[in-house]
Each structure stands twice: as structure tokens, then as C-alpha cells.
């Protein structure tokens, strides 16, 4: 995380120092995900592009940009701008504002007149979105509308149908409805952003009249961060977990010194209310599938007694891991990450103590350590960063907390068995391994973007791409869902094979870290081989492309009996499996339905 991009950031400072920030970001050793982003503006977009690049680089995404000519956002799409077609965007960001409204109602317009106007304005946009989806199959990010900075009728602007505030509010709702019913379409909520920033400052007319910017220059970093958050979320770069301190973070006071009865928590005091509201905020993240953990310098007995305080909204049950000891917090974070099979940088480290934050920063530069200074602003500090920006909300997200809890139970069970096979047997595993089905398309796309460790080729796909593979006759697609006696893990593995002549190439093979070492990979290859033979093919080729994170599957194909054909100087490997001499099933512990 670049220090100047860390919220609450100074917009003007970012604008002024963009060249240096860019240079510093590009100097860091990051394996970037390359994406093509088209910015289609209804106003100037030059600085928006510059600053959006910084935030995306900071998230590990290296953008290649296309910008339309000034104000040509609609024309570029509707009249097939050749440069845009050639560019083949992965993401289109439509930067429009209330300056782009074709026609506003005037006082006295009838409800019917305004309805017609509203419909016309909406159709202009929705026709463009439909065409984008059809022609490019790309992700679409669309600004909604900020309120006007003046009100002809005062408060009545909001309540009368002929008022501008009323008109834009209705239009925003229609935009939201489109988002609810169209996958791959996201609203960039500048209505909220401008309110949060201050509408008067956001809409400073100087920037429109001087430079044709629809928002004040100093507000551009907030806009760019918001767009970057949507993009990084789509490409699986959200954070996944909290590592939370206890004393003076989740409650006021030090439980070991002050005693449980003297902690500031609950409705009795104003400071107690602040911490209660913060606890509720943290707890709500469970609904998004964010994993809650504690790292506290405390005796475990004291830590638990604090969480068992009758006014504490968070209880020990809400956490997957509670590390309360006197070891360095960096070691505890490393351990939690290891035990949950997550990377340390998937965590957000929340601690009021600057010294503890510093240790984490030193050990894990990519772990965000928001500056928790005044308890009443804890929520804002975390919220403005957008660590957990939601772009899909799947059932799996909601159940993830349970899943990790079940994993912890499985690990306990493992310790009681003589050998690993006996343990696997005891799990009573049942897998569903089938071709991609509409029900799971979004989960499958999500997995291709989030999975880093067990991922042979790290091929990232949008949902639209997944749907295309599923429909194509020359692909064998498989998803694997795994259940055991502790619960349902959901869809955890994806394999994609492309048939070319007499050979099938495995373009994608991934598995979620939730189910490592459960023999799920054997069940997957068995089914893949069965379908391959069914098509009359006897040769499979597997590929391994090394990344910073997938070393664990370097020799994976060898374990499955593939023969290494060649390896280039960068470590890319090609494997071959010849089925002409038959195939022995590898899975022994999972019952499979297909």
C-alpha cells in the first residue's frame, strides 16, 4: 500500500505528486494483473485516468487505458468507434454526471411529461449498456448522478416531480434496478461520494468552466479510488479477514488491568456506546463472508472474559481464531494466516497501538493497518478504505464463516486418527462434479479471480467468459462441490479443458484452499478423464505457469501420473497424459455424483 493512497488521503497531494507515486509503485516487485480499461467520459477524464492508474497499480492491477474524445461516451459505443473495438476493453467506465442530462423538467411540468423525460433519459443510457454488453461482453461501471449544486425551488426540488433533485433521484433508482438485473454491470455511486465529500466542494463550478471537469479536481482521487475498488473486487483482490486487537480497539480500557466490570462497552456511557457501535459494525462483516479473528496481547482467560461481557455484541463464537498471548503480533498473524490457509495480505490489521501497527507494516508491507486514532472515527477509518467492496454476494460468502469454523473442527478431528486415510474416510465426503451450470457461474468466475495458490495457469475469467466456455462444444467444463459431515464447502474446484483435434488441453485447474489435502483433486481428474475418454480422446495436456503464489502445485501433474514434456527458462511447464493404455481411478475417499 502506497502511503499517500491510504485513506483518509489528501486529494491535492496525490494530484501534485502523481508522477513520483507512479514511479514508486512501478518500482515495487509486484506481479501485475494486466487489464484494459476504457474510460468513456461525458466531461474531461485526463486526470481521472492518471489517478485511477495509481489506485489500480496499488491494488496489483496494471491498466492499459482507452479514453474517448471529449464528451463522446455515447457516440463511441452507439456508432462503433473503431479504436474502441480494436482496444477490446475488459472494463468500461462511463464517467457521466448531471451535466450530461439531456433535458430537465421545468417547474409546472405534468407528471406525464416528466415520466416521458425520465424514460427518454434512461433509455439513452440503457441502450448504450445493452450494446456494450452485447458487443464487448465486458464489465461496465457506470456513474449514477450527483445532486445539482443549486435548487431553483428549494426543498420542493426534492418533493415535486418537476424538481431536479426528484428527477435525478428517480433516475438513480432506475440505474440501480438495471444493476440488480444485469450481471457485470456496476454502479459507481457518485451520489453518495459527492454527499460524503461535500456537494458544494465536489461541484465547484470553477473546474467545469475552466477545464470541463464535472467534479472538483481535489475530489478526483475519491472518485478514482471508488472505481478502483469496484475493479479490484471484480478481479478477486478484496481483503478476506480482520485481525482485531481487543483493549481500546473493541472496548475502552484494558481488561487485564481495569477488570471486566470496568470496560467501556454498552449503552451506559457515551464512550461505551462508541465501542458498541464499532463492534456492531465489525460483526456485520460476517454477513459478507469476512472472517473475524483476534490478535491480542492478553492472557487468553482475560481476553475471553472481555468478549463474554454481557454488553459485548461480539462474542467468542463470532471469531474463527483468537490469539491471546504475549508473542509478537506479526508471528500471530503469520500463524492465523497459515492455519486458515490464507495469505497474510488477505487480512486487515485493526489495532489502536501505533507500535503494533508498525511491526505489522515492517513484516507485511501489503497488510493494511488503518490508523485507529479516535474511537468515534474507527468506523469511518475502516469504511472509507473499501477493503471488502461487494460486487457479488453469493451464498458461499455468507456461509464462509461457518466453513472456516468447520475447518477448525476438522483439524481437531485429524489429530485423533492413526493415519490420514482413516481421517479422510471419517469425513464422509460427498462431491458433486458436473459441467458448469447457470446456478454456479458467478461462483466459478469468482474462484478464477480469487484463487492464487492451487491454480495451475492462473487464468482469470469474467462470468461472461465462463458462460461462453460452458456453451462451446469444444470445451469440457467441470465444477466440483464438496460436502462432508461438518458441512457444505460449496463449489471449490474448477477444471476447464479445450479440445483441439485429438488432444484436450487443460486451460484452467484450480482448487480453493478450503479443501486442500482432501483428495478432491483425484475426484476431479477421475471425472475429467472419464469425460475425455467418452469423447474418444486419449491424450491430455496439462500446463503449469509459475506465479509468486502457486509454487505448491509446481509438481502437481507429476503426482497425477503426467509426464513432463518440456519446461522453458521461466519455469512454464507442459505435461502429457497418455490414456491409450487405460486409466486407474485415483479417488478412494469421496463419493461422487455427476
Amino acid at each position: 500500500m502506497h502511503v499517500l493512497l491510504n485513506p483518509p488521503f489528501d486529494g491535492k497531494k496525490i494530484l501534485a505528486s502523481r508522477k513520483r507515486i507512479r514511479r514508486e509503485l512501478l518500482n515495487s516487485e509486484v506481479v501485475y494483473l494486466d487489464k484494459k480499461v476504457a474510460i468513456l467520459g461525458g466531461s474531461t477524464t485526463h486526470d481521472i485516468r492518471d489517478i485511477l492508474e495509481l489506485f489500480l497499480l496499488d491494488y496489483g492491477i496494471r491498466p492499459l487505458f482507452y479514453e474517448c474524445e471529449y464528451g463522446q461516451y455515447w457516440q463511441d459505443v452507439m456508432f462503433d468507434a473503431p479504436a474502441l473495438i480494436e482496444f477490446k476493453p475488459d472494463v468500461v467506465f462511463i464517467h457521466t454526471s448531471n451535466r450530461n442530462i439531456t433535458q430537465y423538467p421545468i417547474p409546472g411540468d405534468s407528471a406525464e411529461t416528466v415520466d416521458t423525460m425520465l424514460q427518454a433519459e434512461y433509455k439513452k443510457f440503457s441502450a448504450m449498456w445493452d450494446k456494450l454488453a452485447l458487443d464487448y461482453g465486458c464489465t461496465i461501471i457506470q456513474n449514477n448522478f450527483e445532486y445539482p449544486f443549486w435548487r431553483l425551488m428549494g426543498n420542493a426540488d426534492a418533493s415535486l416531480v418537476c424538481g431536479r433533485v426528484n428527477f435525478l433521484t428517480r433516475l438513480n433508482l432506475k440505474f440501480a434496478e438495471y444493476a440488480q438485473t444485469h450481471r457485470g454491470f456496476y454502479i459507481n455511486d457518485i451520489n453518495w461520494l459527492s454527499a460524503d465529500y461535500g456537494l458544494e466542494a465536489w461541484s465547484d463550478p470553477l473546474y467545469w468552466h475552466m477545464y470541463k471537469y464535472a467534479l472538483a479536481m481535489p475530489a478526483i482521487p475519491r472518485l478514482a479510488q471508488s472505481v478502483a475498488n469496484i475493479i479490484k473486487s471484480i478481479y478477486g483482490k478484496n481483503k478476506k479477514a480482520f485481525a482485531l486487537d481487543l483493549d481500546n480497539t473493541l472496548w475502552g480500557g484494558i481488561v487485564g488491568d481495569d477488570g471486566v466490570e470496568n470496560l467501556q462497552i454498552g449503552q451506559e456511557t457515551s464512550m461505551g456506546q462508541v465501542y458498541s457501535e464499532f463492534q456492531e459494525y465489525i460483526k456485520s462483516h460476517k454477513q459478507l463472508g469476512v472472517i473475524l479473528n483476534v490478535i491480542s496481547k492478553n492472557d487468553i482467560k482475560n481476553a475471553l472474559s472481555g468478549l463474554e461481557h454481557p454488553d459485548s455484541s461480539l462474542t467468542p463464537d463470532d471469531f474463527i481464531m483468537i490469539k491471546a498471548n504475549w508473542e509478537p503480533k506479526s508471528e500471530n498473524l503469520q500463524e492465523i494466516a497459515h492455519e486458515l490457509s490464507l495469505l497474510p495480505e488477505s487480512f486487515v490489521f485493526v489495532d489502536d497501538n501505533p507500535a503494533e501497527r508498525e511491526i505489522i507494516k515492517q513484516s507485511f508491507p501489503n497488510v493494511p493497518t488503518p490508523e485507529m486514532i479516535t474511537p468515534e472515527h474507527y468506523i469511518t477509518t475502516i469504511d472509507r478504505a473499501g477493503y471488502f467492496e461487494v460486487t457479488t454476494l453469493t451464498k458461499d460468502d455468507i456461509a464462509r464463516g461457518d466453513m472456516y469454523k468447520n475447518n477448525a473442527a476438522r483439524n481437531k478431528l485429524q489429530a485423533t486418527f492413526a493415519n490420514y486415510g482413516q481421517y479422510l474416510q471419517s469425513l464422509e465426503m460427498h462431491a458433486e462434479i458436473k459441467p458448469f451450470t447457470p446456478m454456479y457461474m458467478s461462483r466459478i468466475a469468482q474462484l478464477t479471480n480469487k484463487t492464487n495458490q492451487f491454480n495451475l495457469t492462473t487464468m482469470r475469467c469474467t462470468q461472461e467468459e465462463i458462460e461462453r466456455f460452458s456453451a462451446a462444444p469444444n470445451y469440457i467444463t467441470l465444477y466440483g462441490k464438496l460436502q462432508d459431515k461438518f458441512g457444505d464447502n460449496g463449489v471449490v474446484s474448477v477444471v476447464l479443458g479445450e479440445i483441439q483435434g485429438a488432444v484436450i488441453h487443460i486451460r484452467l485447474w484450480l482448487m480453493s484452499c478450503r479443501v486442500f489435502k482432501r483428495d478432491m483433486e483425484f475426484a476431479m481428474i477421475d471425472e475429467f478423464v472419464r469425460l475425455t475418454l467418452e469423447r474418444g480422446l486419449t491424450e491430455i495436456r496439462g500446463y503449469y505457469y509459475p506465479t509468486a503464489k502457486n509454487n505448491m502445485v509446481r509438481d502437481f501433474y507429476e503426482k497425477l501420473g503426467f509426464i513432463l514434456e518440456r519446461e522453458d527458462e521461466t519455469g512454464n511447464r507442459v505435461y502429457k497424459l497418455d490414456l491409450s493404455g487405460g486409466y486407474d481411478s485415483k479417488n478412494a475417499y469421496i463419493e461422487v455424483s455427476r
Binding site: L15, A16, K19, R20, D47, L206, M210, M217
Partner: protein, 80 residues
């Protein structure tokens, strides 16, 4: 703030915006004297100067500024 002090701080702003430590601005420097200057970096520069001196230029100011000396005149008037 003395005129000399303003120049010193202003020079830092220019170096930051153009990411070039070799820039030296004087009374007579015009924007087009600076390597890599264009209308977009001009806007960035205006915002950066506002930030550095905690002032706000009006539209008339921005339209009128022809060289660094004139910019410093306005800063001298606005900043305290």
C-alpha cells in the same frame, strides 16, 4: 512570507509536479519554459500551488497568470 521564501516553496512544488529535481523557477520563467509542460500539467500545477500555500485561485487569477512572477504576486496577496 517573503518573496524569496515563496519562490523556494514554489520551486519544490514544481519539482514535485514534474518529478524533476533540476527545475529552477525565476520571476521571468513562463510555463512554456518548463520541459514537459502542457495544459494538463498546468491544471495540476495550479491545484498543487493552492495546496502548498493553502490558498484558492479564482478563475480570473488562473486566466491571467502569464509567468511565475505574476503567480507569486497573487500568492503574496492571498497567503499569510
Amino acid at each position: 512570507m517573503t518573496r524569496e521564501k515563496i519562490f523556494e516553496l514554489l520551486n519544490e512544488v514544481f519539482c514535485d509536479v514534474f518529478d524533476d529535481e533540476t527545475i529552477t523557477v525565476t520571476e521571468a520563467t513562463t510555463f512554456s519554459d518548463i520541459e514537459n509542460w502542457d495544459s494538463f500539467s498546468h491544471i495540476t500545477l495550479i491545484v498543487a500551488v493552492e495546496e502548498a500555500f493553502d490558498i484558492e485561485f479564482s478563475m480570473i487569477d488562473v486566466l491571467d497568470i502569464k509567468n511565475i512572477g505574476e503567480m507569486v504576486d497573487i500568492i503574496e496577496k492571498e497567503a499569510r
